[in-house]
């Protein structure tokens, strides 16, 4: 055991060291916003993917079109047909952002700004007002959305200890098997 003590110490140091931001995971979001699909792409530590080409494919992998993210990692894409939209962006160094948008989640396509039957619950609001409300709600839940995405990436001490436990167990089994084999042979 003595020989591994320095290494063990190193491992403990690594756990104890303050965890910086995680740049690993790529987060991509896409949602209907008015008549267009809006989305954002960034890293789980809050850095956004700036000025990146976003390619749009349908379910079969055919390219529908492409767009670019702006300075805040946001992009918009006007859908032209009812199909599953898959947004893909290559952030370089092996980071690929991908986000699927199902047909049910698409914004209304082909519906012009003309009068339309008011949906239940929106009676009394005209289209402009509804758009305004939708815009306000989107702005309100934007930070929440980001927080949830960041929360999903969070890893706590339990996860880390669990992983170390798995490693100890795996190598313990290996040790056991190898020890048994050696005892049998010798």
């Amino acid at each position: 055991m003595k020989r591994v003590t320095p290494l063990l110490l190193l491992g403990v140091l690594c756990v104890a060291a303050p965890h910086g931001a995680e740049a690993h995971k790529v987060i991509a979001e896409a949602y209907a916003s008015g008549d267009v699909i809006e989305g954002e792409i960034g890293f789980s530590n809050g850095d956004m993917a700036i000025d990146v080409v976003v390619e749009v494919f349908d379910d079969a992998g055919n390219k529908i079109g492409q767009t670019r993210t702006d300075g805040d990692g946001f992009f918009t894409f006007p859908p032209t047909r009812k199909a599953v939209h898959v947004f893909r962006a290559n952030l370089g160094a092996g980071h690929i952002a991908e986000r699927r948008l199902e047909i049910a989640d698409l914004p209304p396509i082909g519906e012009t700004a003309g009068p339309e039957p008011a949906a239940p619950g929106t009676a009394g609001l005209d289209r402009a007002e509804r758009d305004l409300v939708a815009e306000m709600i989107r702005r309100e839940i934007g930070p929440l959305r980001r927080e949830i995405a960041a929360y999903k990436e969070q890893r706590d001490l339990q996860t880390i200890l669990g992983g170390i436990g798995y490693i100890a167990g795996l190598f313990g089994i290996g040790f056991y098997v190898a020890g048994r084999r050696r005892n049998r042979d010798g």
């Binding site: 063990l8 491992g11 060291a17 910086g20 995971k25 160094a93 490693i167 795996l170 290996g174 190898a178």
Partner: protein
């Protein structure tokens, strides 16, 4: 450093998986019984090292510690790092299961290369000499890994030189930190337990003076 699912072509994935399987086989054969706990501890150290981040510009990179694993374990670095990568993929979502073979190859092959390059230096009588070789091994393994990562990306369509430059430059601070860390670890181990670096793969008993 971890390439994610979907970034590589199928041929590269299969090639990486086959090479890694061979490396793990070789590593398990050359792992003597009394080095198994060491391999486990290094695997765990590698597992948590990925959580220590070094912020660089808009992005950040993390420690890898594959040089240290290679210097101590030789070919056995393959199974040790494979286990670490597997658990990182499952627990943290780093990389992914389909790219596990390629990622293991990219990280463990430099470890093995460093082992053979620095083997004699490690066995030096003076702890300082050994520590210098440790620093060389720690830094070099990261440099080699960035080269391999760029190469696998290039095989899947990215242009090699820009990708290599990007990954390499991003990891220069990591190289410096890992060189210092590996040197410190080697120095410490050399004084506390010198036979750590002396056990020859294939021998059942570590050489005990």
């Amino acid at each position: 450093m971890h390439i994610v699912d979907g970034a590589l072509s199928g041929e590269v994935l299969i090639g990486g998986a086959v090479a890694t399987a061979a490396g793990i086989g070789l590593g398990l054969r050359s792992l003597p019984v009394d080095k198994i706990p060491t391999a486990g501890v290094l695997s765990a150290a590698f597992f948590v090292a990925s959580l220590v981040h070094v912020p660089i510009g808009p992005s950040s990179v993390h420690l890898i510690l594959n040089g240290l694993a290679g210097l101590v374990l030789g070919w056995a670095a393959f199974p040790a790092l494979f286990v670490g990568l597997l658990l990182q993929a499952v627990f943290f979502g780093f990389g992914g299961l389909t790219v596990l073979g390629v990622n293991t190859l990219n990280i463990a092959l430099p470890a093995v290369a460093v082992y053979f390059l620095c083997r004699h230096g490690m066995a030096a009588a003076s702890p300082v000499t050994a520590a210098v070789w440790g620093a060389v091994g720690g830094g070099l393994s990261i440099a080699l890994t960035t080269g391999l990562v760029a190469l696998t990306l290039a095989l899947s369509g990215d242009a090699f030189l820009p990708a290599a430059k990007l990954v390499f430059l991003a990891h220069v601070p990591v190289m410096a930190i890992e060189a210092a860390l590996t040197a410190a670890a080697v120095f410490l181990a050399h004084r506390v337990k010198p036979e750590l670096f002396r056990a020859v793969p294939g021998s059942i008993h570590g050489a005990r003076p």
